[in-house]
């Protein structure tokens, strides 16, 4: 029997394969978008109860986040750390690990970058930047990889461990920048010594946004390739889908868990480095700006898909960029945007439970019968 005949005899064949793949992709896009919309509608109702116009609110968000060239610059600059922070959630999530403590890796990555600048100020610019990046990635990788190791070796719940470690990381950063690493010249805001001018990371020409955005986008694409197109990513997906099946196949589930958590942590550490080298110029308490937590929302909205993280991060960056304007124009507290993000997050979590309930694929099943 030829292969075509076999295919025809057993299934809808290649056409079925393609149409089913397409249908599943459509479902994977429609559900999160519907959830986003539902969250935004729920927030509109909330605003209406407060006596504010939801329409004004969303128009303002559009204007402040995406309306002008200036607002785009602002949004994209905020998106840079969010892209990397979201990867710290998305990569472990593909192995079934829920890591919510990326904030800790961001903060300590920034401190590591600041420390490198203090320890080796003599390095020329490019070498200094590379040294900072390596130190930040290593620090973040150790921090979150440690969570993966605790999970694998001692069975410690990775969600709780990573969250508590984030608090410890913030305390550790405060301890270091107020003590050992403090620049005596930083009076009001304890910080590490300012980076040498040559170590500062500049802007992407013509965009007005620092290079962290490009690195974040490249990291997202590379993560997608790693997960979807390499055998390591395939092994990780098997572990995430069913760890017993992975063990029966002899796959090193524990090592994969440690490796992918460490990689996620390294990306978050890099986000901290860019905050120091491109935004603040030194490491200080401004590092704990909540990017790690917004990254959780973005990763879930993107369904832990590296490519989808890019638009999701830009959207959330736009929400946050609009916070100031919303506060001034509508006389709403700046926590308002957090309420919106929270509602969207809950809608996304709900939409996960609806997967496969809407029978986008029902026509395929009927064809089978």
């Amino acid at each position: 029997m030829s292969m075509q005949a076999e295919l025809a005899a057993t299934a809808a064949g290649r056409a079925g394969f393609l149409s089913e793949t397409a249908a599943r992709r459509i479902e994977a896009v429609i559900l999160p978008l519907a959830a986003l919309l539902a969250g935004m509608i729920a927030f509109a109702i909330f605003l209406a109860f407060l006596g504010k116009s939801p329409l004004d609110f969303y128009l303002l968000v559009y204007k402040a986040g995406f309306g002008t060239a200036f607002s785009w610059t602002n949004t994209l600059a905020r998106a840079a750390p969010l892209l990397l922070a979201a990867l710290c959630v998305a990569l472990p999530a593909r192995l079934g690990l829920v890591i919510i403590g990326g904030e800790g890796a961001i903060v300590l990555g920034g401190v590591a970058a600041g420390a490198v600048a203090m320890l080796m100020p003599g390095l020329p610019g490019p070498a200094g930047i590379i040294a900072m990046a390596l130190a930040a990635a290593a620090m973040g990788g150790l921090w979150i990889g440690g969570v993966g190791a605790l999970r694998h070796l001692r069975g410690v719940n990775e969600t709780i461990a990573s969250l508590l470690l984030a608090y410890i990381a913030i305390a550790l950063m405060n301890h270091l920048v107020e003590g050992l690493l403090r620049d005596p010249a930083s009076l009001n805001k304890p910080s590490t010594a300012p980076l040498p001018e040559t170590w500062r990371i500049g802007e992407i020409p013509g965009l007005g946004v620092h290079w962290g955005l490009a690195v974040g986008i490249i990291a997202c694409i590379a993560s997608w390739v790693l997960i979807e197109r390499t055998t390591w990513g395939f092994a990780a997906r098997i572990v995430g889908g069913n760890v017993r099946a992975a063990q029966i196949q002899g796959l090193p589930a524990g090592l994969l868990a440690i490796g992918f958590t460490a990689l996620g942590g390294a990306f978050a550490g890099l986000a901290g480095m860019f905050e120091v080298a491109a935004v603040h110029g030194s490491a200080n308490a401004s590092l704990a700006a909540g990017y790690g937590y917004t990254g959780i929302l973005i990763a879930f909205l993107a369904r832990h898909n590296g490519l989808a993280i890019i638009p999701a991060a830009i959207l959330f960056a736009g929400f946050e960029a609009s916070s100031g304007l919303v506060q001034r124009r509508l006389a709403l507290p700046d926590a308002t945007v957090l309420v919106l993000e929270g509602m969207v997050f809950i809608a996304i979590l709900l939409s996960d439970t609806l997967q496969d309930r809407f029978r986008f694929l029902a026509f395929l099943e009927r064809r089978q019968k």
């Binding site: 029997m1 292969m3 076999e6 295919l7 005899a9 057993t10 299934a11 809808a12 064949g13 290649r14 079925g16 394969f17 149409s19 089913e20 793949t21 599943r24 979807e228 197109r229 390499t230 055998t231 390591w232 990513g233 395939f234 092994a235 997906r237 098997i238 995430g240 889908g241 069913n242 017993r244 099946a245 992975a246 063990q247 029966i248 196949q249 002899g250 796959l251 090193p252 395929l364 099943e365 064809r367 089978q368």
Partner: protein, 512 residues
């Protein structure tokens, strides 16, 4: 027609319960066929049968968990309706499960009081305590009432489960393998108490058991189910254990084993002195010596929970060995991916969707699990989705896996087709050692026949096969050599050609 309960108050003495023509069908599958059993008031009746004989279906019908397709329940000679468990409770029917249903952090007294249906919102503990003390005085045995249940020994907990049923006024008790988590001494004590309650006319008891020892020592009567049918029974005093074993297993006409070619092979798998702790950590698994040769199917028979799953976990590297060795082709084997590839070791764990597949990944991806990272003798870094699609298309055709398309999540397939897909993956290429557990559980006849034929074909092609199965028919049909596992050890060995079913059954039930 709904018949009201006999009384508003539960009965105060043992009651007679009977079923008439109880039948339960699930789709086209008949789990219970026309079963009529009468359990006399004050008797200790045992329900015997192999795994899957319909014992739990039967008691679930009695307790109202299932609504039988046909048949009636009689209590004290009157026809009753049992639409749900609460109705059964109102009639004085209760059940004690294999596993505990008590709240571990609460004391025995608290557990007893909250199990009632009529607990007030505010519990007056002084009064409850006095009531409990009075109740305990009437009981032939006691348990410490003020210690959190979590601190009680297993035997004490099971006694408390029994007390709870009596406290709730139940006069007909179903015990579902109540001694499976107890030591023999605890089991004897518990069953002695049940015996006492039945002789004194306070309780009627129906116990599900596999253990002939318990039947002969404590019970009055037995009924035997086989494949959903009531095939016999009688007074324990008039039956020998051999009679009971024969009824359980039946006059099996040995299924004509599939055509097998003689292969005189080398030893492939050798396990010796392996002693890991079992799941509960209480008992030890002890596999003294187990060898499987190329071209041989070694069947391991046994009632579930006697160490078979632990053995499978040792062999698949999911359970560390504290002592002993596992060798494949004379080399120590830790079930890594590299070793499995080198020695062509393949696994078919039970419940393939739960243990061998990633349910949300596609059929094609699931079929690719074994080969995705290695091709042409070299490890691969890039995932070759063309190779994946081609391999899946070929194997889906060859193994007749019915699926809407290769991109369908494997969880959407029927059980038989999931097992075909796993089989396609594991049987692809050269197979030298095949480790199988309950491969046909829950599958329909055509899938069963096909899967067994594939296993036999692998053996005939020279694979060494270890087949762990709770289905004795399957073991008898496929095996060259039969081992029986009981309480963590291999207790009996016989060549399949001269196998005596009665003998096997007795060893399975713990009579060595």
């Amino acid at each position: 027609m709904r018949v009201p309960p006999l009384d508003l108050k539960p009965p105060s003495h043992a009651i007679e319960v009977a079923t008439l023509g109880m039948t339960m069908r699930f789709g086209s599958f008949t789990a219970l066929n026309d079963v009529s059993i009468r359990i006399a008031a004050g008797s200790f009746h045992v329900l015997l049968g192999e795994n899957g004989a319909g014992k739990s279906t039967f008691v679930k019908c009695m307790m109202g968990f299932y609504r039988p397709t046909a048949g009636q329940m009689m209590v004290e000679g009157r026809e009753v309706e049992v639409p749900d468990p609460r109705a059964a409770h109102d009639l004085g029917l209760g059940m004690v499960y294999q596993h505990f249903t008590l709240v571990p952090s609460l004391t025995a007294a608290e557990n007893l009081v909250i199990s009632r249906n009529d607990v007030p919102a505010r519990i007056q503990w002084d009064r409850e305590r006095a009531d409990l003390a009075a109740f305990m005085k009437k009981m032939p045995f006691t348990v410490p009432l003020d210690v959190p249940v979590g601190r009680l020994a297993a035997g004490e907990k099971q006694k408390l489960e029994l007390l709870k049923q009596l406290y709730l006024g139940r006069r007909f008790l179903i015990l579902d393998e109540p001694t499976s988590v107890l030591t023999p001494a605890e089991a004897d004590e518990l069953l002695g108490m049940v015996r006492g309650l039945t002789t004194s006319g306070e309780l009627t008891c129906l116990m599900i058991s596999h253990k002939f020892r318990e039947v002969t020592a404590f019970a009055d009567e037995v009924s035997v189910l086989r494949r959903g049918e009531h095939v016999g029974g009688g007074k324990v005093s008039e039956l020998s254990t051999a009679d009971m074993a024969a009824m359980m297993i039946g006059e099996k006409e040995l299924v004509r084993p599939a055509a097998r070619v003689a292969v005189n092979g080398q030893t492939v798998l050798a396990v010796s002195g392996a002693k890991p702790p079992d799941r509960s950590g209480l008992k030890m698994i002890d596999i003294a010596d187990l060898r499987v040769k190329a071209g041989e199917i070694v069947g391991i028979a046994g009632i579930s929970g006697n160490g078979q799953m632990e053995l499978m976990e040792i062999l698949s590297g999911q359970r560390p060995l504290e002592q002993g060795t596992v060798q494949v082709c004379g080399t120590p084997f830790k079930a890594t991916r590299g070793e499995a590839r080198k020695f062509n070791v393949r696994y078919l764990p039970e419940e393939p969707l739960r243990n061998a597949c990633s349910p949300k990944m596609s059929v094609a991806e699931n079929i690719f699990f074994r080969d995705f990272d290695f091709a042409d003798g070299k490890p691969k870094f890039w995932l070759d989705s063309r190779r994946m699609a081609e391999q899946a298309a070929r194997l889906v055709g060859e193994y007749k896996v019915k699926t809407a398309s290769l991109a369908t999540p494997i969880a959407a397939l029927s059980g038989g087709n999931v097992q075909r897909a796993v089989l396609a993956r594991e049987f692809n290429g050269k197979v030298d050692l095949l480790l199988i557990a309950n491969p046909c559980f829950g599958l329909d006849f055509s899938a069963v026949a096909e899967i067994r034929a594939r296993i036999m074909a692998a053996r005939n092609a020279g694979a060494a096969v270890l087949l762990i199965s709770e289905d004795l028919d399957e073991i008898l049909e496929l095996s060259d050599r039969i081992l029986v596992m009981s309480e963590g050890s291999i207790v009996f060995e016989t060549p399949a050609a001269s196998a005596d079913i009665g003998e096997i059954g007795k060893h399975m039930a713990g009579h060595h």
